[in-house]
Symmetry: C2
Subunit: 97 residues, 2 copies
């Protein structure tokens, strides 16, 4: 099972993921993505969903037209783990492509 | 442009959409869908996204694993219109299928 990251590991990881931030009210990382339109936003979600399903690690996310807000945390570990970093990195690659 | 429904029309419409309710804090209708797993939940979202894009009328929605919470409102009309009812009905059909 994925282990919750130490504060040091998490800080280092977030420095590699500059668009992500700590959630304010829980042990999670968050990012808001903004795309050109709904087609692009949902296209991103679809590609990310396939990655998430393959990882068996799923985001909490919301979509309003061209924006997608993502919260990543590992339920079983009660906080942020390597799985969240991996999914965040995958989302960055998808959003950049 | 779609016109905001009268209170009477809206009440009548909600009686045909028993799983939907008025949003508490804004002029919108809401529903929480619960599916068997993420695959089913995101499959629903994908089918609903295609309908929404075709209608050029988009939901506000969030997904956490097997649940999808949907809020429908028509921004340009400042409230619930026939477009929202149409999308809600389409979502019911997709969820039932």
């Amino acid at each position: 099972m994925a282990q919750k990251l130490s504060p040091e590991s998490r800080k280092a990881a977030l420095s590699r993921l500059p668009n992500w931030a700590d959630a304010k009210d829980r042990d999670a990382i968050v990012r808001k993505f903004t795309f050109g339109d709904f087609n692009e936003a949902f296209g991103f979600m679809t590609r990310a969903a396939l990655v998430a399903e393959k990882m068996n690690h799923h985001p909490e996310w919301s979509n309003v037209y061209r924006t997608v807000e993502v919260t990543l945390s590992t339920h079983d570990a009660g906080g942020v783990t390597e799985l969240d970093l991996e999914l965040a990195e995958a989302m960055e690659m998808i959003a950049d492509s």
